[in-house]
Protein backbone atom coordinates (compact mmCIF):
# COMPACT_ATOMS: atom_id res chain seq x y z
CA UNK A 1 0.00 0.00 0.00
CA UNK A 2 1.48 3.31 -1.09
CA UNK A 3 1.95 5.98 1.57
CA UNK A 4 -0.55 8.89 1.63
CA UNK A 5 2.19 11.37 0.72
CA UNK A 6 3.24 9.24 -2.26
CA UNK A 7 -0.36 9.03 -3.48
CA UNK A 8 -0.93 12.76 -3.08
CA UNK A 9 2.36 13.66 -4.79
CA UNK A 10 1.34 11.62 -7.84
CA UNK A 11 -2.12 13.12 -8.26
CA UNK A 12 -3.10 16.21 -10.24
CA UNK A 13 -2.72 19.46 -8.31
CA UNK A 14 -6.41 20.28 -8.81
CA UNK A 15 -7.52 17.02 -7.15
CA UNK A 16 -5.32 17.59 -4.10
CA UNK A 17 -6.41 21.23 -3.81
CA UNK A 18 -10.06 20.13 -3.97
CA UNK A 19 -9.81 17.57 -1.17
CA UNK A 20 -7.82 20.03 0.99
CA UNK A 21 -10.52 22.69 0.54
CA UNK A 22 -13.29 20.19 1.26
CA UNK A 23 -11.64 18.91 4.45
CA UNK A 24 -10.90 22.45 5.58
CA UNK A 25 -14.65 23.21 5.59
CA UNK A 26 -15.06 20.69 8.42
CA UNK A 27 -12.67 22.65 10.66
CA UNK A 28 -14.59 25.75 11.71
CA UNK A 29 -13.58 28.26 12.67
CA UNK A 30 -10.06 28.04 11.34
CA UNK A 31 -7.13 30.38 10.99
CA UNK A 32 -4.19 29.76 8.72
CA UNK A 33 -0.88 31.40 9.49
CA UNK A 34 1.73 31.13 6.77
CA UNK A 35 5.15 30.54 8.33
CA UNK A 36 7.04 30.49 5.03
CA UNK A 37 6.28 30.06 1.38
CA UNK A 38 5.03 28.80 -0.83
CA UNK A 39 8.56 29.31 -2.09
CA UNK A 40 10.62 27.78 -4.86
CA UNK A 41 13.74 26.15 -3.44
CA UNK A 42 15.97 23.11 -3.95
CA UNK A 43 16.54 19.82 -2.21
CA UNK A 44 19.81 18.01 -2.67
CA UNK A 45 19.13 14.55 -4.10
CA UNK A 46 21.01 11.93 -2.10
CA UNK A 47 21.41 8.58 -3.76
CA UNK A 48 22.56 5.26 -2.30
CA UNK A 49 24.15 3.59 -5.29
CA UNK A 50 24.12 -0.13 -5.87
CA UNK A 51 27.81 -0.95 -6.33
CA UNK A 52 29.37 -0.11 -2.96
CA UNK A 53 26.37 1.52 -1.29
CA UNK A 54 28.08 4.89 -1.36
CA UNK A 55 25.67 7.72 -0.59
CA UNK A 56 26.41 10.66 -2.89
CA UNK A 57 24.85 13.95 -3.99
CA UNK A 58 23.39 13.35 -7.43
CA UNK A 59 22.20 16.93 -8.08
CA UNK A 60 19.50 19.33 -6.94
CA UNK A 61 15.76 19.00 -7.44
CA UNK A 62 13.62 22.12 -7.84
CA UNK A 63 10.73 22.05 -5.34
CA UNK A 64 8.06 24.28 -3.87
CA UNK A 65 7.88 24.31 -0.09
CA UNK A 66 5.18 25.63 2.25
CA UNK A 67 5.17 25.79 6.05
CA UNK A 68 2.05 26.95 7.85
CA UNK A 69 -0.02 26.63 10.98
CA UNK A 70 -3.69 25.65 10.89
CA UNK A 71 -5.30 26.55 14.20
CA UNK A 72 -1.83 26.34 15.73
CA UNK A 73 -1.03 22.93 14.21
CA UNK A 74 2.05 22.79 12.02
CA UNK A 75 1.68 21.75 8.40
CA UNK A 76 4.41 21.04 5.87
CA UNK A 77 4.05 20.69 2.13
CA UNK A 78 6.66 20.07 -0.52
CA UNK A 79 6.31 19.04 -4.16
CA UNK A 80 8.70 18.66 -7.08
CA UNK A 81 8.49 21.63 -9.48
CA UNK A 82 7.12 25.15 -9.24
CA UNK A 83 3.63 24.39 -7.91
CA UNK A 84 2.61 26.86 -5.17
CA UNK A 85 -1.07 25.80 -4.91
CA UNK A 86 -0.13 22.12 -4.78
CA UNK A 87 2.47 22.77 -2.08
CA UNK A 88 0.00 24.80 0.03
CA UNK A 89 -2.69 22.12 -0.31
CA UNK A 90 -0.21 19.47 0.85
CA UNK A 91 0.73 21.59 3.88
CA UNK A 92 -2.94 22.02 4.77
CA UNK A 93 -3.59 18.27 4.45
CA UNK A 94 -0.50 17.57 6.59
CA UNK A 95 -1.91 19.80 9.34
CA UNK A 96 -5.48 18.53 8.90
CA UNK A 97 -4.40 14.91 9.38
CA UNK A 98 -2.91 15.91 12.74
CA UNK A 99 -6.04 17.69 13.99
CA UNK A 100 -8.62 15.25 15.42
CA UNK A 101 -12.06 15.32 13.82
CA UNK A 102 -14.33 13.71 11.26
CA UNK A 103 -12.45 15.41 8.44
CA UNK A 104 -9.60 12.92 8.97
CA UNK A 105 -11.94 10.06 8.00
CA UNK A 106 -13.00 11.99 4.90
CA UNK A 107 -9.39 12.66 3.97
CA UNK A 108 -8.36 9.05 4.45
CA UNK A 109 -11.27 7.86 2.31
CA UNK A 110 -10.44 10.31 -0.46
CA UNK A 111 -6.76 9.43 -0.39
CA UNK A 112 -7.73 5.75 -0.63
CA UNK A 113 -9.83 6.58 -3.73
CA UNK A 114 -6.93 8.51 -5.24
CA UNK A 115 -4.64 5.56 -4.45
CA UNK A 116 -6.90 3.19 -6.38
CA UNK A 117 -6.99 5.53 -9.38
CA UNK A 118 -3.21 5.95 -9.18
CA UNK A 119 -2.66 2.19 -9.09
CA UNK A 120 -4.81 1.86 -12.23
CA UNK A 121 -2.89 4.65 -14.03
CA UNK A 122 0.53 3.35 -13.06
CA UNK A 123 -0.37 -0.20 -13.99
CA UNK A 124 -1.59 0.93 -17.42
CA UNK A 125 1.70 2.76 -17.96
CA UNK A 126 3.67 -0.31 -16.92
CA UNK A 127 1.49 -2.67 -18.95
CA UNK A 128 2.35 -0.79 -22.14
CA UNK A 129 6.07 -1.06 -21.33
CA UNK A 130 5.59 -4.71 -20.45
CA UNK A 131 4.50 -5.33 -24.05
CA UNK A 132 8.18 -4.87 -24.98
CA UNK A 133 9.30 -7.78 -22.81
CA UNK A 134 11.69 -10.02 -24.71
CA UNK A 135 13.27 -13.41 -24.40
CA UNK A 136 16.54 -13.47 -26.31
CA UNK A 137 17.84 -16.72 -27.72
CA UNK A 138 21.50 -17.40 -28.39
CA UNK A 139 22.64 -19.14 -31.56
Amino acid sequence: MASPTYVLSQCPSASVCAIAAQALDYVTPHTIEMISGPKVAMVQLRLKESVAETVFNAGEVLVTETRLELNGTFGFGMIVGNQPEFSTALALIDALLRIPGEHTVLLEEQIACLAAELQHRQHAQFAASNSTKVEFDTF
Binding site: T5, V40, Q44, V51, V55, N57, A58, V61, R67, E135
Partner: protein, 388 residues
Protein backbone atom coordinates in the same frame (compact mmCIF):
# COMPACT_ATOMS: atom_id res chain seq x y z
CA UNK B 1 51.01 49.91 -33.42
CA UNK B 2 50.19 49.73 -29.73
CA UNK B 3 47.89 47.45 -27.73
CA UNK B 4 46.04 48.90 -24.75
CA UNK B 5 43.22 47.88 -22.42
CA UNK B 6 39.68 48.59 -23.66
CA UNK B 7 36.63 50.03 -21.98
CA UNK B 8 33.15 50.98 -23.13
CA UNK B 9 31.15 49.27 -25.85
CA UNK B 10 27.88 49.30 -23.90
CA UNK B 11 25.76 50.14 -26.92
CA UNK B 12 27.58 47.62 -29.08
CA UNK B 13 26.97 44.90 -26.46
CA UNK B 14 23.27 45.76 -26.19
CA UNK B 15 22.95 45.70 -29.96
CA UNK B 16 24.78 42.38 -30.08
CA UNK B 17 22.18 40.94 -27.72
CA UNK B 18 19.43 42.24 -29.99
CA UNK B 19 21.08 40.57 -32.97
CA UNK B 20 21.06 37.26 -31.12
CA UNK B 21 17.30 37.60 -30.66
CA UNK B 22 16.95 38.61 -34.32
CA UNK B 23 18.88 35.55 -35.49
CA UNK B 24 16.50 33.33 -33.50
CA UNK B 25 13.35 35.04 -34.73
CA UNK B 26 14.20 36.38 -38.19
CA UNK B 27 12.42 33.47 -39.91
CA UNK B 28 9.19 34.65 -38.22
CA UNK B 29 8.16 31.05 -37.60
CA UNK B 30 5.74 30.22 -34.78
CA UNK B 31 7.42 30.69 -31.37
CA UNK B 32 8.27 27.35 -29.75
CA UNK B 33 6.22 26.72 -26.61
CA UNK B 34 8.10 25.45 -23.55
CA UNK B 35 5.83 22.44 -23.17
CA UNK B 36 6.71 21.43 -26.73
CA UNK B 37 10.42 21.44 -25.87
CA UNK B 38 9.81 19.68 -22.54
CA UNK B 39 7.69 16.93 -24.11
CA UNK B 40 9.24 16.50 -27.57
CA UNK B 41 12.92 17.23 -26.86
CA UNK B 42 13.23 14.82 -23.94
CA UNK B 43 16.88 13.96 -24.58
CA UNK B 44 17.97 17.59 -24.72
CA UNK B 45 15.96 18.44 -21.59
CA UNK B 46 17.48 15.50 -19.72
CA UNK B 47 20.99 16.45 -20.77
CA UNK B 48 20.56 20.08 -19.74
CA UNK B 49 19.24 18.97 -16.35
CA UNK B 50 21.96 16.46 -15.53
CA UNK B 51 24.82 18.67 -16.74
CA UNK B 52 23.24 21.68 -15.02
CA UNK B 53 22.78 19.47 -11.90
CA UNK B 54 19.23 20.75 -11.42
CA UNK B 55 16.11 18.65 -11.99
CA UNK B 56 13.62 21.15 -13.40
CA UNK B 57 12.14 20.10 -16.79
CA UNK B 58 10.25 23.37 -17.39
CA UNK B 59 13.33 25.49 -16.68
CA UNK B 60 15.49 23.19 -18.81
CA UNK B 61 13.05 23.76 -21.68
CA UNK B 62 13.34 27.51 -21.17
CA UNK B 63 17.14 27.28 -21.08
CA UNK B 64 17.16 25.30 -24.33
CA UNK B 65 14.92 27.85 -26.00
CA UNK B 66 17.09 30.74 -24.80
CA UNK B 67 20.30 29.01 -25.87
CA UNK B 68 18.85 27.96 -29.25
CA UNK B 69 19.48 24.30 -28.45
CA UNK B 70 23.10 24.66 -27.28
CA UNK B 71 23.32 21.97 -24.60
CA UNK B 72 26.30 23.42 -22.75
CA UNK B 73 24.84 26.92 -22.73
CA UNK B 74 21.50 25.53 -21.52
CA UNK B 75 23.14 23.65 -18.65
CA UNK B 76 25.17 26.79 -17.84
CA UNK B 77 21.92 28.80 -17.55
CA UNK B 78 20.42 26.16 -15.26
CA UNK B 79 23.49 26.04 -13.05
CA UNK B 80 23.53 29.83 -12.81
CA UNK B 81 19.86 29.81 -11.82
CA UNK B 82 20.60 27.08 -9.28
CA UNK B 83 22.98 29.44 -7.49
CA UNK B 84 20.07 31.84 -6.79
CA UNK B 85 17.95 29.22 -5.00
CA UNK B 86 18.04 28.22 -1.37
CA UNK B 87 18.83 24.58 -0.66
CA UNK B 88 16.37 23.75 2.08
CA UNK B 89 17.37 20.17 2.90
CA UNK B 90 18.87 16.98 1.51
CA UNK B 91 16.57 14.13 0.52
CA UNK B 92 16.47 10.78 2.24
CA UNK B 93 18.91 8.63 0.22
CA UNK B 94 16.98 7.21 -2.73
CA UNK B 95 17.73 3.81 -4.27
CA UNK B 96 17.39 2.47 -7.79
CA UNK B 97 15.20 -0.42 -6.63
CA UNK B 98 12.43 2.14 -6.08
CA UNK B 99 12.41 3.13 -9.77
CA UNK B 100 9.16 2.35 -11.60
CA UNK B 101 10.83 0.95 -14.68
CA UNK B 102 9.68 1.68 -18.21
CA UNK B 103 12.82 0.05 -19.59
CA UNK B 104 15.10 -2.52 -18.02
CA UNK B 105 17.71 -4.54 -19.88
CA UNK B 106 20.84 -6.56 -19.23
CA UNK B 107 23.61 -7.51 -21.64
CA UNK B 108 25.17 -9.93 -19.14
CA UNK B 109 22.38 -12.47 -18.84
CA UNK B 110 19.55 -13.13 -21.26
CA UNK B 111 17.37 -14.42 -18.44
CA UNK B 112 17.19 -12.05 -15.50
CA UNK B 113 14.75 -12.15 -12.58
CA UNK B 114 11.66 -10.26 -13.75
CA UNK B 115 12.70 -10.43 -17.40
CA UNK B 116 14.07 -7.94 -19.90
CA UNK B 117 11.86 -5.09 -21.03
CA UNK B 118 13.01 -3.01 -23.99
CA UNK B 119 10.74 -0.05 -23.20
CA UNK B 120 11.03 3.19 -25.18
CA UNK B 121 14.20 2.60 -27.19
CA UNK B 122 15.55 3.17 -30.68
CA UNK B 123 18.45 0.76 -30.11
CA UNK B 124 16.91 -1.89 -32.32
CA UNK B 125 15.79 0.33 -35.21
CA UNK B 126 17.53 1.32 -38.41
CA UNK B 127 18.73 4.93 -38.25
CA UNK B 128 16.76 6.47 -41.10
CA UNK B 129 15.20 9.92 -41.26
CA UNK B 130 11.46 9.65 -40.77
CA UNK B 131 9.94 12.02 -43.32
CA UNK B 132 6.49 11.41 -41.84
CA UNK B 133 7.45 13.68 -38.95
CA UNK B 134 7.79 16.61 -41.35
CA UNK B 135 4.08 17.29 -41.30
CA UNK B 136 2.98 15.70 -38.03
CA UNK B 137 -0.62 16.51 -37.08
CA UNK B 138 -2.79 16.29 -33.98
CA UNK B 139 -4.42 13.24 -35.59
CA UNK B 140 -1.00 11.56 -35.64
CA UNK B 141 -0.55 12.34 -31.95
CA UNK B 142 -3.96 10.86 -31.14
CA UNK B 143 -3.13 7.75 -33.15
CA UNK B 144 -0.04 7.12 -30.98
CA UNK B 145 -1.96 7.81 -27.75
CA UNK B 146 -4.64 5.32 -28.80
CA UNK B 147 -2.08 2.70 -29.80
CA UNK B 148 -0.39 3.07 -26.39
CA UNK B 149 -3.76 2.60 -24.65
CA UNK B 150 -4.36 -0.54 -26.71
CA UNK B 151 -0.97 -1.94 -25.72
CA UNK B 152 -1.81 -1.33 -22.06
CA UNK B 153 -5.27 -2.88 -22.40
CA UNK B 154 -4.01 -6.00 -24.18
CA UNK B 155 -1.22 -6.70 -21.70
CA UNK B 156 -1.70 -9.76 -19.51
CA UNK B 157 0.76 -8.83 -16.76
CA UNK B 158 0.04 -8.94 -13.04
CA UNK B 159 -2.65 -6.27 -12.34
CA UNK B 160 -0.70 -5.07 -9.31
CA UNK B 161 2.57 -4.65 -11.24
CA UNK B 162 3.76 -1.09 -11.75
CA UNK B 163 7.39 -1.73 -12.75
CA UNK B 164 9.43 -2.56 -9.67
CA UNK B 165 12.27 -5.06 -10.23
CA UNK B 166 15.10 -6.52 -8.21
CA UNK B 167 18.64 -5.56 -9.24
CA UNK B 168 20.72 -7.81 -11.46
CA UNK B 169 23.82 -6.95 -9.40
CA UNK B 170 22.11 -8.30 -6.28
CA UNK B 171 21.67 -11.61 -8.10
CA UNK B 172 25.35 -11.48 -9.13
CA UNK B 173 26.32 -10.88 -5.51
CA UNK B 174 24.27 -13.85 -4.35
CA UNK B 175 26.12 -15.99 -6.88
CA UNK B 176 29.49 -14.61 -5.75
CA UNK B 177 30.35 -13.11 -9.15
CA UNK B 178 30.99 -9.64 -7.76
CA UNK B 179 32.40 -8.31 -4.54
CA UNK B 180 30.32 -7.50 -1.48
CA UNK B 181 32.57 -4.51 -0.83
CA UNK B 182 30.86 -1.78 1.10
CA UNK B 183 32.00 1.77 1.09
CA UNK B 184 33.70 3.01 4.23
CA UNK B 185 32.90 6.70 3.76
CA UNK B 186 31.67 8.87 6.57
CA UNK B 187 27.91 9.41 6.75
CA UNK B 188 27.92 12.85 5.17
CA UNK B 189 28.75 12.61 1.46
CA UNK B 190 31.26 15.01 -0.07
CA UNK B 191 29.67 18.03 -1.74
CA UNK B 192 31.62 19.50 -4.65
CA UNK B 193 29.31 22.53 -4.68
CA UNK B 194 30.63 23.52 -1.26
CA UNK B 195 34.17 22.14 -1.11
CA UNK B 196 36.78 22.15 -3.86
CA UNK B 197 37.90 18.74 -5.10
CA UNK B 198 41.23 17.49 -3.81
CA UNK B 199 42.93 14.26 -4.80
CA UNK B 200 42.75 11.43 -4.11
CA UNK B 201 39.06 12.15 -3.65
CA UNK B 202 36.28 10.25 -1.92
CA UNK B 203 34.02 8.11 -4.07
CA UNK B 204 31.02 10.30 -3.27
CA UNK B 205 32.92 13.25 -4.75
CA UNK B 206 33.79 11.25 -7.86
CA UNK B 207 30.19 10.17 -8.43
CA UNK B 208 28.81 13.67 -7.89
CA UNK B 209 31.38 15.08 -10.29
CA UNK B 210 30.68 12.48 -12.98
CA UNK B 211 26.90 12.89 -12.59
CA UNK B 212 27.15 16.54 -13.65
CA UNK B 213 29.89 15.92 -16.21
CA UNK B 214 29.61 16.75 -19.89
CA UNK B 215 28.13 13.82 -21.83
CA UNK B 216 30.57 14.16 -24.72
CA UNK B 217 33.55 14.33 -22.41
CA UNK B 218 32.56 11.29 -20.33
CA UNK B 219 31.82 9.39 -23.52
CA UNK B 220 35.24 10.24 -24.94
CA UNK B 221 37.15 9.19 -21.84
CA UNK B 222 35.15 5.98 -21.45
CA UNK B 223 35.52 5.17 -25.15
CA UNK B 224 39.28 5.76 -25.01
CA UNK B 225 39.59 3.24 -22.20
CA UNK B 226 37.46 0.68 -24.00
CA UNK B 227 39.09 1.12 -27.41
CA UNK B 228 42.69 0.69 -26.37
CA UNK B 229 44.05 3.55 -24.27
CA UNK B 230 43.10 1.67 -21.13
CA UNK B 231 41.98 -1.62 -19.75
CA UNK B 232 38.19 -1.40 -19.61
CA UNK B 233 36.23 -4.42 -20.80
CA UNK B 234 32.69 -3.51 -19.83
CA UNK B 235 29.48 -5.47 -20.03
CA UNK B 236 26.15 -3.97 -19.09
CA UNK B 237 24.92 -5.68 -15.93
CA UNK B 238 21.69 -3.69 -15.96
CA UNK B 239 20.26 -0.47 -17.33
CA UNK B 240 16.96 0.88 -16.12
CA UNK B 241 14.98 3.94 -17.10
CA UNK B 242 11.90 5.13 -15.28
CA UNK B 243 10.47 7.22 -12.48
CA UNK B 244 12.10 7.37 -9.07
CA UNK B 245 10.24 8.65 -5.99
CA UNK B 246 11.99 11.33 -3.92
CA UNK B 247 11.48 11.54 -0.16
CA UNK B 248 12.45 14.09 2.46
CA UNK B 249 12.20 13.96 6.25
CA UNK B 250 9.22 15.84 7.68
CA UNK B 251 10.73 18.82 9.55
CA UNK B 252 8.64 18.20 12.68
CA UNK B 253 8.16 14.42 12.89
CA UNK B 254 11.14 13.21 10.87
CA UNK B 255 8.87 10.78 9.01
CA UNK B 256 9.63 10.23 5.32
CA UNK B 257 7.29 12.11 3.03
CA UNK B 258 7.21 11.69 -0.74
CA UNK B 259 7.51 14.90 -2.75
CA UNK B 260 7.10 13.40 -6.23
CA UNK B 261 8.84 11.30 -8.84
CA UNK B 262 11.67 12.25 -11.17
CA UNK B 263 12.72 10.74 -14.51
CA UNK B 264 16.07 8.99 -14.20
CA UNK B 265 18.45 6.54 -15.88
CA UNK B 266 20.58 4.17 -13.83
CA UNK B 267 23.05 1.46 -14.79
CA UNK B 268 25.72 -0.87 -13.51
CA UNK B 269 28.65 -1.95 -15.63
CA UNK B 270 30.52 -5.16 -14.90
CA UNK B 271 34.16 -5.48 -15.94
CA UNK B 272 36.22 -8.56 -16.62
CA UNK B 273 37.32 -10.87 -13.82
CA UNK B 274 40.69 -10.22 -12.29
CA UNK B 275 42.65 -10.66 -9.11
CA UNK B 276 45.54 -8.39 -9.91
CA UNK B 277 45.43 -6.24 -6.79
CA UNK B 278 45.60 -9.11 -4.34
CA UNK B 279 46.73 -12.41 -5.79
CA UNK B 280 45.18 -14.34 -2.93
CA UNK B 281 41.72 -12.81 -3.44
CA UNK B 282 38.99 -14.75 -5.14
CA UNK B 283 38.72 -13.63 -8.79
CA UNK B 284 35.61 -11.50 -9.14
CA UNK B 285 34.10 -8.95 -11.48
CA UNK B 286 34.43 -5.24 -10.82
CA UNK B 287 31.41 -2.95 -10.96
CA UNK B 288 30.87 0.64 -11.97
CA UNK B 289 27.82 2.83 -11.31
CA UNK B 290 26.09 5.39 -13.52
CA UNK B 291 23.14 7.69 -12.88
CA UNK B 292 21.59 10.64 -14.68
CA UNK B 293 18.54 12.85 -14.52
CA UNK B 294 16.37 12.25 -17.58
CA UNK B 295 16.70 9.57 -20.22
CA UNK B 296 20.44 9.67 -21.00
CA UNK B 297 21.71 6.13 -21.46
CA UNK B 298 25.06 6.81 -23.10
CA UNK B 299 26.04 9.22 -20.33
CA UNK B 300 24.97 6.80 -17.58
CA UNK B 301 26.99 4.01 -19.22
CA UNK B 302 30.04 6.25 -19.73
CA UNK B 303 29.88 7.29 -16.09
CA UNK B 304 29.69 3.65 -14.98
CA UNK B 305 32.65 2.63 -17.17
CA UNK B 306 34.75 5.49 -15.76
CA UNK B 307 33.70 4.67 -12.20
CA UNK B 308 34.82 1.09 -12.73
CA UNK B 309 38.14 2.12 -14.33
CA UNK B 310 38.90 4.66 -11.59
CA UNK B 311 38.04 2.18 -8.84
CA UNK B 312 40.35 -0.42 -10.37
CA UNK B 313 43.12 2.13 -10.77
CA UNK B 314 42.81 3.12 -7.12
CA UNK B 315 43.01 -0.51 -6.04
CA UNK B 316 46.01 -0.97 -8.30
CA UNK B 317 43.92 -3.61 -10.01
CA UNK B 318 44.39 -2.70 -13.68
CA UNK B 319 45.88 -5.63 -15.49
CA UNK B 320 46.83 -3.78 -18.67
CA UNK B 321 47.44 -0.25 -19.88
CA UNK B 322 45.98 2.33 -17.55
CA UNK B 323 45.44 5.18 -20.07
CA UNK B 324 44.29 8.73 -19.35
CA UNK B 325 40.80 7.59 -18.25
CA UNK B 326 42.37 5.89 -15.21
CA UNK B 327 43.76 9.20 -13.95
CA UNK B 328 41.10 10.44 -11.55
CA UNK B 329 42.44 13.98 -11.28
CA UNK B 330 42.68 14.32 -15.07
CA UNK B 331 39.18 12.94 -15.65
CA UNK B 332 37.32 14.82 -12.93
CA UNK B 333 39.01 18.18 -13.41
CA UNK B 334 38.33 18.26 -17.15
CA UNK B 335 34.89 16.69 -17.51
CA UNK B 336 32.69 19.57 -16.37
CA UNK B 337 31.36 21.04 -19.62
CA UNK B 338 30.42 24.36 -18.07
CA UNK B 339 33.87 24.94 -16.58
CA UNK B 340 35.60 23.76 -19.75
CA UNK B 341 33.47 25.83 -22.13
CA UNK B 342 33.66 28.86 -19.86
CA UNK B 343 37.43 28.70 -19.72
CA UNK B 344 37.75 28.22 -23.47
CA UNK B 345 35.17 30.91 -24.31
CA UNK B 346 36.84 33.49 -22.09
CA UNK B 347 39.67 33.71 -24.64
CA UNK B 348 37.20 35.54 -26.89
CA UNK B 349 37.08 38.43 -24.43
CA UNK B 350 39.62 41.31 -24.63
CA UNK B 351 43.12 40.21 -23.61
CA UNK B 352 44.81 43.36 -24.89
CA UNK B 353 47.02 43.98 -21.85
CA UNK B 354 48.02 40.33 -21.61
CA UNK B 355 48.83 40.22 -25.29
CA UNK B 356 50.78 43.49 -25.07
CA UNK B 357 52.99 41.82 -22.47
CA UNK B 358 53.36 38.84 -24.82
CA UNK B 359 54.44 41.21 -27.59
CA UNK B 360 57.10 42.75 -25.36
CA UNK B 361 58.41 39.31 -24.52
CA UNK B 362 58.47 38.52 -28.25
CA UNK B 363 60.39 41.76 -28.91
CA UNK B 364 62.97 40.95 -26.23
CA UNK B 365 63.32 37.41 -27.50
CA UNK B 366 63.83 38.71 -31.06
CA UNK B 367 66.46 41.20 -29.86
CA UNK B 368 68.19 38.45 -27.92
CA UNK B 369 68.31 36.11 -30.91
CA UNK B 370 69.58 38.92 -33.16
CA UNK B 371 72.32 39.91 -30.68
CA UNK B 372 73.37 36.25 -30.34
CA UNK B 373 73.60 35.98 -34.12
CA UNK B 374 75.63 39.20 -34.32
CA UNK B 375 78.05 38.02 -31.65
CA UNK B 376 78.50 34.71 -33.44
CA UNK B 377 79.36 36.61 -36.63
CA UNK B 378 81.70 39.15 -34.98
CA UNK B 379 83.63 36.82 -32.67
CA UNK B 380 85.61 34.92 -35.40
CA UNK B 381 86.57 38.25 -37.08
CA UNK B 382 87.83 39.66 -33.77
CA UNK B 383 89.99 36.54 -33.23
CA UNK B 384 91.54 36.99 -36.70
CA UNK B 385 90.21 33.69 -38.04
CA UNK B 386 88.15 33.26 -41.20
CA UNK B 387 84.63 32.21 -40.84
CA UNK B 388 83.93 28.75 -42.29
Amino acid sequence: MGYIAARGGTNAILNAELLVEYMRLQGQSTPIALDQIRDQMRAAVGRAMNEGALYAPELAALALKQSEGDSIEASFLLRAYRSTLQRVMPTIPAEGTAIRCMRRISASFKDIPGGQMLGPSQDYQIRMLNSLLTNESHADIQRVIDAHATLAAESDCDPQAIGHFSKVVDYMRQEGFVSMRHDDEADEPFDITRTALTFPCRRSARLQSLAQGDTGCLLTYAYSSVRGYGDAHPTLAELRFGLMPVEVAHPMTGEPICIGEIVVTECEIVSKAHSVAHASDKPQFQLGYGFTFGHCEVKAMSMAILDSVLTQAKLNGLSGESGPAANEEFVLLHSDGIEASGFTAHYKLPHYVTFEADLKVLDRATEHVQSQALQAHVAPVASGKDTP
